[in-house]
């Protein structure tokens, strides 16, 4: 049976953190729920699993690519048009430094921007249940579970003092 999403909305962060214990009791794992907030909370504050991200890999790859292109461009130019200046070697690193530095940063910046977009999943392919009060400081516990366990999750969220429970497709409970 397909998985469904249900969003429990809490007006207090402590209540939301406590409610995750109730979710665990009905068989929801750390991987099965996400926390939606209007500002960042310390990682793990709600007992959620810390997600894996690769944001630091992007600038590294970008920087290496940018440096390689800049190095090829500058060294290739110097070899193609050799001009001996002041007895210096044809391949002079000081003359290549600025362009190499620029290239490195350009690559790193572009890849970091792409990395943030990719790792944040922007834009999202599908819309999960959401409530605008989240940006006002409410806490949303977004639970993904099989359809047959929706009621148990719903009950757990209500017992956890959720002020609203919103189901995928619009069915909602208001405390």
């Amino acid at each position: 049976m397909a998985n469904k999403n249900v969003l429990g909305l809490f007006d207090n962060a402590d209540t939301a953190a406590d409610a995750t214990d109730g979710l665990m009791e009905v068989g929801v794992n750390q991987e099965d729920f996400d926390v939606l907030t209007g500002s960042p909370y310390p990682e793990g504050a709600f007992g959620e699993k810390t997600p894996v991200h690769h944001i630091y890999v992007f600038p590294l790859i970008g920087a290496l690519m940018g440096l390689s292109v800049a190095f090829l461009l500058t060294s290739g130019t110097q070899i193609a048009y050799p001009i001996v200046t002041g007895g210096k070697p044809i391949l002079s690193f000081p003359a290549m430094t600025i362009i190499s530095y620029e290239g490195t940063l350009l690559g790193a910046v572009i890849f970091t921007i792409l990395g943030i977009i990719f790792e944040s999943r922007l834009p999202r392919a599908r819309l999960d249940p959401y409530d605008p009060r989240i940006t006002e400081g409410y806490i949303g516990l977004l639970v993904t579970c099989p359809e047959e366990r929706l009621d148990a999750v719903d009950q757990a969220l209500r017992r956890g003092k959720a002020v609203d429970v919103i189901h995928e497709g619009g069915r909602s409970f208001r405390a």
Partner: protein, 451 residues
């Protein structure tokens, strides 16, 4: 409790997240008639600047470099002040200074001014002579190398600044959307992964902004000023230029905060804490201003070669001694004298006054580099054979400078219509992590440090 050492608890700590969000969003939605009146005046002044630019272009063309000195000054001044101001937020975020939260977006929004300044760079590329036959940092690269690589560097800096502004404001634009009752965006939900990536991503982009800004300072200062004055080869100058940028960036934030405090309802967010924190930075950088200037000057003064003497006479002690004197007094002496007193630092007006003085001083400091540099005709010499006369501003120059500065301020104001000027998510995060607790007979601020 000694009031000198314990600033009052920020008012916004006492607000709920909901009150804070609604307050900021409401102000963002309706800026008021005063806002549009000022924007209208600035648009008028900018239009005069455009007329001045057209006159400059049609009367003098791009070959008469001397006439573009003040245009170059306007470009360099906006670069030095506004584009460096973004670094204030970046640096304070890196240092995890929690008092920065109310000023974070004020600083980041200067990235939008960078886009405007990039437009000012374009005509200067036609005015800047090729490097063939003269000293430059481009060795034997083709003569148009600075035109290409300075543009790429500046363009990357602008894109980077806009990326920081865009990503940092995503949660707040989502809040504006939610408060307006619009359809939920497909972009931002505020889940754990998104917050982690946003925080880490901003830290990485901020680091790159710092790395790139310093290099762009070097490129602009060397290609558009130092390499155009024969005999001027000062390795400290690019660093001094960057330091002046940091100084005026801090000064610009102080002045902007003071104006916002006085003219908008943001008084409860922009309190003494922010002014006090930045004033200490400004004091330290003002002292460094003197140190960097002295280090560059001393070598030239002691060397006393004809080339060195020519440069000193040209940009410091003869032709442009008035702007140099004003820059020295307003970038070092006056701010130092004002900010050395803690009782003044711990006000909103004291640091803002020092900041305003630094901004004026920086204009004269930039002027004494770029106007003289664009006035030198023979660039292939090893030293100035004769000291050119001072290039005083014409009516067109005044129009161009006023127009450019007005355009920069107008750009900032228009950006404030797109991006909320208070970083709501950072303020709310501050509310989560900070509390006031009783410690014996006093109340103290307590900070949670989860990292």
């Amino acid at each position: 409790m000694h009031e000198l050492h314990h600033p009052p608890t920020p008012v916004y700590w006492g607000m709920t997240a909901q009150e804070l969000t609604q307050d900021v969003v409401q102000r963002h939605a309706s800026p008021g008639r005063q806002f549009w009146a000022i924007a209208g005046v600035l648009a008028g002044l900018f239009a005069l600047g455009v007329i001045g630019f057209i006159l400059l272009l049609t009367q003098h063309g791009v070959d008469n470099r001397r006439e573009w000195g003040y245009f170059a000054t306007a470009f360099a001044y906006i670069f030095v002040t506004a584009q460096s101001a973004v670094l204030v937020s970046v640096a304070l975020r890196m240092a995890k200074a929690h008092w920065r939260r109310p000023l974070a977006r004020i600083s980041e929004m200067f990235a939008a001014v960078g886009l405007f300044n990039f437009l000012l760079l374009i005509p200067l590329l036609w005015v800047l002579p090729p490097t063939d036959g003269r000293r430059s940092i481009w060795f034997d690269w083709p003569g148009r190398s600075p035109h290409l690589w300075d543009t790429i560097a500046m363009g990357t800096l602008v894109v980077l600044g806009l990326a920081i502004l865009y990503f940092a404001s995503i949660p707040d634009r989502a809040a504006v959307r939610d408060q307006a009752g619009s359809e939920p965006s497909t972009k931002w939900r505020g889940n754990v992964q998104q917050w982690i990536v946003l925080n880490r991503g901003l830290a990485v982009l901020g680091g790159f902004y710092f790395m790139l800004l310093i290099v762009v300072h070097m490129l602009i200062s060397v290609d558009f000023a130092m390499s155009l004055i024969p005999g001027w080869k000062d390795s400290i100058f690019p660093a001094f230029h960057a330091l002046n940028g940091l100084q005026s960036g801090v000064a610009l934030i102080l002045v902007t905060m003071f104006i916002l405090r006085q003219t908008t309802g943001l008084r409860k967010y922009l309190e003494v804490d922010q002014f006090w924190g930045l004033s200490k930075l400004l004091l330290a950088i003002s002292l460094l201003w003197f140190y960097f200037w002295w280090s560059g000057f001393f070598v030239y003064w002691y060397g006393r070669t004809p080339a060195e003497q020519g440069v000193l006479r040209y940009i410091m002690f003869e032709t442009y001694w008035v702007p140099f004197f004003l820059a020295f007094v307003m970038c070092f002496a006056l701010p130092f004298f004002i900010l050395m007193w803690n009782i003044v630092r711990k006000t909103t007006w004291g640091p803002a006054l020092a900041g305003a003085i630094v901004l004026v001083g920086t204009f004269f400091n930039v002027l004494r580099y770029y106007v003289p540099a664009f006035a030198v005709e023979e660039l292939s010499l090893h030293s100035l054979e004769h000291i050119p006369t001072a290039n005083l501003p014409s009516f067109i120059d005044i129009l161009v400078v006023i127009g450019a500065l007005s355009g920069a301020v107008l750009t900032y104001m228009l950006a404030a219509r797109v991006f909320p000027i208070m970083s709501m998510w950072e303020l709310r995060e501050g509310q989560i992590l900070q509390r006031v607790r009783k410690l014996m007979k006093i109340e103290v601020k307590v900070l949670a440090k989860p990292e």
